[in-house]
Symmetry: C2
Subunit: 323 residues, 2 copies
């Protein structure tokens, strides 16, 4: 347990993951309401939208309006996702986002084929062209990620060595355009990870690239999200993507039961209780999670939003004891 | 990770935990249907009922009929819960149960006061009288448990040393009646545990009592259940209570969000994936979990029952590749 980090960075992805996943249209004003609520929690990075083709992701057809409408809170980085130059230009045009580049490769050729109709070679070539696009636009690139790093619904288990080799390729592609990469995110896109495979994969990447920070993007489809995050913490991982109330899920994973990212408030609860700093106010975050349920109009998978915090119980007990 | 056990014993508590928790009456025949379904999964210990006062627990008013009605599968131990001599005699009278004694102390005096209107001294005296009751009835006692071992909604955090001292008292009480205790179960009755406190508590108990097996009874109210189970596995814990589909919850914990035990099929899934033997057929167990939802008539918190197994995906991928 000695490798537990003292503090972690949480990248809130609930708005982007959630809005693109929901089938029933959500009014733009309500999306903005949730983002503004999240801005008050202490979260310092919030992914608010994706600039993608509205034909593929109708829930993000109002991405420009979302970004124009939320209230920027000082100290919070607001990010978005895009898949091509057109999306990037839309993000830049808002002038309200923290626009940074990221390079990604996918560890499953079968998933690439279904999701983007690409071979692995085309995926690599595509990232080369994206790296050039960032360079041409003067956008810094410090982050890389490997998708489907723990397994794939269409291809099966992913060998650790393959993920490590993809990290190497991402560093090469970045280096060709003069970018220095500081971080690699290992994404459990289809929820194949276990605490053991998280430890093995993080360890293998760190052994080969000791200077890279490792981040985890964990989906919770099979209920392993928090256990996998804990395994990451034990390996010293200090950067996590997560979704308030467990919003979202990957609409392309071809899986009816696809759940969202690991739940932000459950992750914050665990960190609070084991003494890892998150800078997030858990009570405020639970208020956002309850709002998120109201915004999407159906129950979301978060636990602490229903179970309540121990901090609140401790306060009540203390007040009772003092009375 | 080197302390991961090769195999674990799962004590299925879904029927008992679930039926006593549900507010809408469930027909006895449907309770029996679920038990019979669980008998076909490979689970070798199933807690089917509690013999308690039906005024306090109306969902268990039909305990005798449940026990009379299910089909005993060879190799499966069917257990029940009772709180006093009357309950024990009812359990013995069925002649269809594996009647073994257990001694328990509660780590929170505030919870004792609310739940049983007892002081800690009265709790200890009560267990002495229960130990005598077992001896008088020729019932073996090999198991002890500490309730609220990780914290209490009414008293707060529980010091590790206090739990260790309660284990010592349980061993003394057992020894006074000539029983040799083999196992202590640490119960996170009100879901205060984290992976770190699980490791600390299991380690402290084992340091003091290295010959005792440690079991974990983990509630999932705050979403930490599977992470806590994983932390237990890393400490070599090889006995877990769990509930199919996450059925149940403690009706006395005074907590609206009280969730059931850690979900059996999510636990089995994790063990299958990390190579720990459970002897349970996960596909059959998921069928039981889906049945459990139908029996209680509302969604239950299990994840793998919705997300599906990786074994099924691997088989489909292999079949596709072969075709």
């Amino acid at each position: 347990m000695s490798d537990l980090p003292k503090a972690i960075q949480i990248n809130e992805e609930g708005p982007r993951e959630g809005f693109q996943f929901e089938r029933v249209p959500i009014p733009t004003a309500r999306k903005i309401e949730l983002i503004d609520s999240l801005s008050e929690t202490g979260l310092n990075q919030i992914q608010v939208a994706s600039f993608v083709n509205p034909k593929n992701v109708p829930g993000m057809a109002d991405a420009d309006q979302i970004v124009a409408g939320f209230t920027r809170k000082p100290g919070v980085r607001y990010t978005a996702l895009w898949l091509n130059e057109k999306g990037l230009q839309r993000a830049i045009a808002t002038a309200r986002l923290d626009v940074k580049g990221s390079l990604s490769l996918t560890a499953s050729e079968a998933f690439l084929k279904r999701n983007q109709n690409r071979t692995a070679a085309q995926d690599l070539e595509g990232e080369r062209s994206i790296a050039r696009m960032y360079k041409a636009n003067g956008i810094p690139v410090e982050r890389t990620s490997v998708r489907a790093a723990f397994g794939c619904n269409y291809q099966g288990d992913v060998p650790t060595a393959h993920v490590v080799s993809l990290v190497g390729k991402l560093l090469e592609v970045a280096s060709e355009e003069g970018f220095t990469i500081k971080l690699v995110s290992l994404a459990d896109t289809m929820a194949w990870a276990t605490p053991v495979s998280v430890k093995r994969m993080v360890g293998a990447v760190r052994d080969k690239y000791p200077d890279l920070q490792v981040a985890l993007h964990l989906h919770d489809t099979r209920g392993m999200g928090i256990a996998n995050a804990y395994a990451g913490l034990e390996m010293g991982v200090a950067i996590f993507d997560s979704s308030v109330a467990g919003l979202g899920g990957c609409p392309f994973a071809g899986h009816k039961g696809a759940a969202g990212n690991v739940c932000t408030e459950d992750l914050v609860f665990m960190c609070d209780e084991i003494g890892i700093e998150t800078r997030v106010d858990l009570a405020q975050l639970i208020a956002s999670a309850i709002l998120a349920e109201d915004v999407v109009g159906h129950p979301l998978p978060g636990s602490v939003m229903r179970g309540g915090t121990l901090a609140a119980l401790r306060t009540a007990i203390k007040a009772g004891a003092a009375a």
